[in-house]
């Protein structure tokens, strides 16, 4: 049994300063050994955890850069006279099946399957060519030899193995690998497509909410995910705060949902912004597959898949913003899409906020904590200090008032190691990795 407090007490801060473009996605692989980030410039940077050093018994392995490559380039759509941004919207790892690692990366229109492989040996002693690569004169070859593998400096190569293009009219917001490890889904604002990893020239459209008459469009798809165990089940969320669970066995086109999740609106808190703040920005299944979590503008909700009419748990992320909705609408912050994530055991959840704050909630103890990802407040190996926002009245020491919050410093992307208490937090163009010292 885990110590109650250990989940939220991150005692170790490893600051990785990653100077590049704005980070747009963060994702651990299945083992947690690798951490991938995608940025606005179309680059992917993969960090690898170092093996634990025998000398430093108390510290865990650090994450260092393993591979960097340009995944997507800006494209120009001549027909519409539009530039297609190279920004990576999502990265999803495939489970490891051999020595190489595979991941899917997606921008607005195209998904690519990348193979990341190591090369640490080189063959020497070829018969037909020299070590320099020059061809040897065949007449001079008097004996045959078998080339020998010699060690060389580690080289990590990334190569695109599949390119899945031309299937999305609207902007891709999600990709999710299916538990069969053969297929995956990609979702844009109005449609969801099902792909086979081996086949790039076609995909199946499984959800289409585009109205026949575009004038009737009032709702879009905001996120989608495959169930972690049931390869026929997936969910997608909408801008109206609803989640639909679909079963691919039911029909080829899953326009009709199997389950419909929506919390009835509280009439006393209704305002012109109600719909906007109910729009779901992220949906994630728990590792167990029994629950799912949704993030809307002000809260995180945990749903039991067996109960459609309301969530089983609701956590307020920054309720103090409710009275500021008009200003947040004016400066467009109300449209920010925050992500959320589970820890490995599904006992805790994490999501980001403004002012480089991020929040973690312990589902068992109902404790919550606010931490800040900033260089000033995170010395390496120092304990993170909890932060508090003062909502009114007298501001206590160390508290920060709502009006002093920096709305340009937003933490939209966070990731939790699948097995350990290690978290990755993207604050604009800086990546912070925090981990727990306690074993």
């Amino acid at each position: 049994l885990q110590d109650e407090t250990s989940i939220l007490d991150l005692n170790n801060a490893y600051l990785m300063k990653y100077v590049a473009d704005i980070i747009s996605t963060v994702e651990f692989n299945y083992s947690g050994e690798l951490l991938a980030t995608g940025d606005k410039g179309g680059r992917v940077v993969i960090f690898q955890r170092e093996q634990e050093s025998k000398n430093r018994l108390l510290s865990r392995g650090e994450y260092n850069v393993y591979s960097t490559f340009q995944s997507h380039e800006p494209e120009f759509d001549y027909l519409k006279s539009l530039e297609i941004e190279e920004k990576i919207n999502k990265i999803r790892w495939l489970p490891q099946q051999n020595a190489a690692h595979f991941l899917l990366s997606a921008n607005d229109k195209t998904i690519k399957l990348w193979k990341i492989s190591e090369r640490d040996k080189r063959a020497e002693g070829y018969n037909l060519k020299d070590e320099d690569g020059r061809l040897r004169d065949p007449f001079r070859i008097t004996t045959l030899r078998v080339p020998v593998l010699m060690p060389m400096d580690l080289m990590v190569e990334a190569s695109p193995r599949r390119i899945f293009a031309n299937a999305h009219t609207y902007h891709i917001n999600s990709i999710s690998v299916n538990s069969d490890y053969e297929t995956y889904i990609s979702a844009d604002d109005l449609r969801i497509n099902l792909w086979h990893l081996e086949i790039t020239d076609r995909s199946f459209n499984i959800v289409d909410i585009k109205p026949a008459n575009m004038e009737e469009l009032t709702e879009v798809i905001t996120a989608a995910e495959c169930h972690p165990h049931q390869c026929n089940v997936f969910v997608y969320s909408s801008s109206k705060g609803t989640i639909r669970l679909c079963d691919m066995r039911a029909a080829a086109l899953c326009d009709r949902h199997s389950k419909f999740f929506e919390e009835p609106e509280d009439p006393s808190s209704r305002s012109f912004f109600s719909e906007i703040i109910s729009s779901i920005s992220d949906v994630k299944f728990s590792h167990s597959g029994r629950y799912m979590m949704t993030r809307d503008y002000l809260s995180v909700k945990v749903w039991d898949l067996n109960m459609e009419n309301r969530p089983v748990e609701t956590y307020q992320v920054h309720e103090y913003l409710r009275s500021k909705l008009c200003s947040l609408y004016e400066n467009d912050c109300i449209f920010d899409k925050f992500e959320c994530c589970w820890n490995g055991s599904d006992s805790a959840i994490m999501t980001g906020s403004y002012n480089n704050f991020f929040r973690m909630f312990d589902r068992n103890t109902r404790r919550d904590i606010t931490l800040e990802a900033s260089r000033e407040n995170s010395k390496p190996r120092a304990m993170l200090k909890p932060r508090k926002v003062c909502t009114g009245g007298k501001r206590k020491k160390d508290e920060i008032s709502v009006d002093s919050l920096d709305f340009n410093k937003k933490i939209l992307h966070t990731a939790w190691h699948p097995k350990e208490n290690v978290i990755a937090v993207a604050a604009t163009n800086n990546l912070y990795i925090f981990q727990d010292k306690i074993n």
Binding site: T169, E215, S239, S271
Partner: protein, 288 residues
Amino acid sequence: MFSKGTKRKFSDGDEEISDESLVGARVASSYSLQRQSLLDMSLIKLQLCHMLVEPNLCRSVLIANTVRQIQEEMTHDGSWHMVAEAFCSAGQSPSERLVATEVLCRSREQDAEPKLFSVISYEGCREEEVVADETLCSVSVSDTVSNVCLAGRIGQCWEKSELSGVERDEEALEDSRLGSGEDEEIDTKDRASTESPKTIGQVFGTFEIKNGSPGPDSALEELFSDVDTSYYDLDTMLTGMQSAPKMGPYDILDSLAPSHSSPSIVSTPNCRSDLNELDHIMEIIVGS
């Protein structure tokens, strides 16, 4: 949210106006003001976001829904009706009335293609200002109000994405089928604009203008209704222009020929102005 106003309490001293009713009235008017400013802000956001090259669809939908909500509430309040009356009395023609926000999602067929055709139109009776718009695929036509050309982008933007890749042909068919149906729908959903006719008129105006004169365009529409958009690939690749029509310069002259078959004095001025217009058009298309 806000109370609309409380009934005046009966008091012996009639001169005393109840504080509560004053406060209530103030609160009500401040609510209306806030609501109005929210509406204005939303409309500006919609206009701005439709000026971007490819707007964020989710954001646009959410803002449009907000605008709709405000309109609905104002209609229930009766404040919409009052504003509409005020607007009508200002002498706005029916064709410039505010159309429902559904028009935001107007199909591509009514925006992109007819606009191209009216440019080429040689009827000459409509005074049209041809505006080459670099952010849009097509050359947009604006009527007397020059700002109105902005409005055309709203429906277009949501539909621009229709033109790409896999589903292009299918949707072109779909849209052309729905074309006539949509005209009727929009007319029945007419609503007067609010106190800020400039922004809203700009936003929705163009659609009415197109509907207002079906005559000259319909023949051309029929002519070009089966335009194959695949020609864009080669043309646009070569010239970098998106509005290259299927007709080349010689085709335009050919089509003019029938109207100028008799070299009479009557037709000559017509011919001249048409050719001037043509030159202008060709300049834009060729991109000189």
